[in-house]
Amino acid sequence: MSDPIIQMKNIEKHFGSVIALAGVSVDVHAGECHCLLGDNGAGKSTFIKTMSGVHKPTSGEIIFEGQPLDFADPRDAIAAGSATGHHLLAMIPLMSVSRNFFMGNEPVKKIAGLTFFDHDYANRVTMEEMRSMGINLRGPDQAVGTLSGGERQTVAIARAVHFGAKVLILDEPTSALGVRQTSNVLATIDKVRKQGIAVVFITHNVRHAMAVGDRFTVLNRGQTLGTAERGEITPEELQDMMAGGQEMASLEGSLGGTV
């Protein structure tokens, strides 16, 4: 297998007296979808915030493309080529799709020495990118607020990919979506992965993870319970690991395998 694009080694993160992460190691390869599973409070959010540069790890090392990284703020992470779902989901409903798409990265053209926003270019690229993701916009000036939740996710993912993200960190992208929208987002993840981009997919839904994941890492109480390749592990085992085992097993019987 190729060298990992991003390696998190023994990451610890303490908030005051609370140990949120107690030595987590994960590596992510280009072109794979790495699922990070864990129940609420397992440390998923802290972990991806560390990965995306929002938090500085208390100890441990982040290696990005072979270079040790010291993210000062999320901008550095974006510049380094990783973009988190948390950030990219940040769309502004009142603004048009193309204005959102290029927010902070506006294309410009010079007219008579003055710099102007190149709307033609922005509109054209937005329409092309959306079409390639399977979303047909009414027009590039359509407001993001009129899109469905799944479409917004897709716009956000397309934006990150367009601006050269090498690692896409999606924090529960399917948590608030309906069945059909979820399948759209999962299909988008699949497309992005095939372009050679590493996807870190955070979820607590084992079925969503199994649908697209290549490898699975389970976090529990700030620690990893190991990484498993696709095919090495069953959904039931993943579910057990997330829930910490015992309680789930006892529940399993009474709920009849519905969770």
Binding site: P74, R75, A90, I92, N105, G134, R138, G145
Partner: protein, 370 residues
């Protein structure tokens, strides 16, 4: 899946009317047409539409436009400035103190006033972005602080609250005419000579046209609208203004320097207020401590009539300018039509209410909220 995305039978085609409705300028355009129709029908003979009348409401509207452009861009970036009115009084007083009381050359008095006022705007903005307090409260404080100084300083120095003699002090100055002068005087003289516009029949101005040029105030208003509109819609910075007001966190995470944008907008609002004040003191020849009272609200009303959302992230400079035009035309038009002027306030309240309701409806259409 791609087939499903091609045509979603549940997305209704948006009608043209609704499409037109979601332009922020719509309210302003409809209102302007309505107001002009009304006064053309009911006040045509009152002198409102001869050269003098037109110049009268143009100047009043231009005053509103100047402060509305600043308030508009600031509101789109998600903030308010309630200190605009006080800033107008304060700026006028500073010009008088430096230019008349201290006897500095008028150009230096004007420039130092701009520097002081824009710094005040920057401080407003800095406090707002650093503390995260609502700009409503921060600038309310500035409103009182500036108004207090505007009364205190001339009373302490000159023992009065109105300082005159500015026109004399500005005589021969190179910068003062940029605010207090008039252009196209020759064209108007020609129009007067040709009998197209009326001329004075008697007195020491006999033979001169009743309107002897376009005041620089109007030129400033037009220039600010054009520059403001282009910056907002056609530049990268304009995208940042929308983004900062639409969702500051989202904008920040996408790399938009939200704090810098907001501070610059506060400075721009202060700049507009100072332009207003400078034009005013050059026209009146005096500075008064009560100048600019309630102007902050008039600016905000013009902006809201112009289609901007109070919550930020949406609006139009052209709309705000039309809102200001409606404001000016109605205020002066009621006077021409001989309507009791207190009714102007009633009109203002009613139209403000309508504008806000319309804007809320438009917002629902755009964001798809129900």
């Amino acid at each position: 899946m791609s087939d499903a995305a091609q045509t979603d039978e549940r997305v209704k085609e948006i009608s043209r009317l609704r499409r037109a409705l979601i332009r922020p300028e719509l309210g302003g355009i409809v209102g302007t047409i309505a107001v002009f129709t009304f006064f053309l029908l009911f006040a045509f003979d009152s002198g409102m539409f001869n050269a003098q009348g037109v110049m009268n409401w143009t100047v009043v509207s231009a005053q509103f436009v100047i402060i509305a452009v600043g308030a508009c861009l600031l509101m789109i970036s998600g903030e308010f400035d309630l200190s605009v009115g006080s800033m107008i009084g304060f700026a006028g007083m500073m010009i008088a103190i430096f230019g008349v009381t201290l006897g500095w050359p008028m150009w230096s008095a004007i420039l130092i006033t701009f520097v002081i006022c824009i710094t005040c705007g920057a401080i407003n903005g800095y406090i707002v972005v650093r503390t995260g307090l609502p700009s409503f409260i921060v600038t309310l404080a500035t409103l009182f602080i500036l108004r207090g100084f505007t009364i205190f300083i001339p009373q302490t120095i000159e023992r009065k609250t109105i300082i005159g003699g500015i026109r004399e002090a500005a005589e021969g100055d190179w910068l003062a005419p940029v605010f207090g002068g008039k252009i196209f005087g020759g064209a108007f003289q020609w129009l007067g000579d040709a009998g197209i516009i009326a001329t004075f029949q008697r007195g020491n101005r006999a033979g001169q046209p009743v309107v002897d040029g376009i005041p620089m105030l109007v030129v400033w208003a037009l220039a600010l609208v054009i520059v403001g509109h282009i910056i907002l819609t056609r530049t990268r910075f304009g995208n940042w203004i929308f983004a900062a007001g639409g969702d500051a966190d989202a904008a920040r995470n996408s790399g938009v320097p939200v704090n810098a944008v907001k501070i610059k907008m506060f400075m721009f609002t202060a700049f507009c207020a100072t332009v207003f004040a400078t034009c005013q003191v050059m026209e009146f020849g005096s500075a008064g401590a009560d100048r600019g009272l309630l102007k902050e609200f008039e600016a905000i009303i013009a902006v809201v009539i112009g289609g901007a959302l109070l919550t930020g992230g949406y609006g139009s400079v052209i709309g705000a300018a039309l809102g200001a035009l409606i404001f000016g035309v109605v205020q002066q038009g009621l006077f021409f039509a001989g309507v009791e002027s207190s009714l102007f306030r009633v009109f203002l309240g009613v139209i403000l209410l309508f504008a806000v309701i319309l804007n809320t409806y438009i917002r629902r259409i755009i964001t798809g909220e129900r």
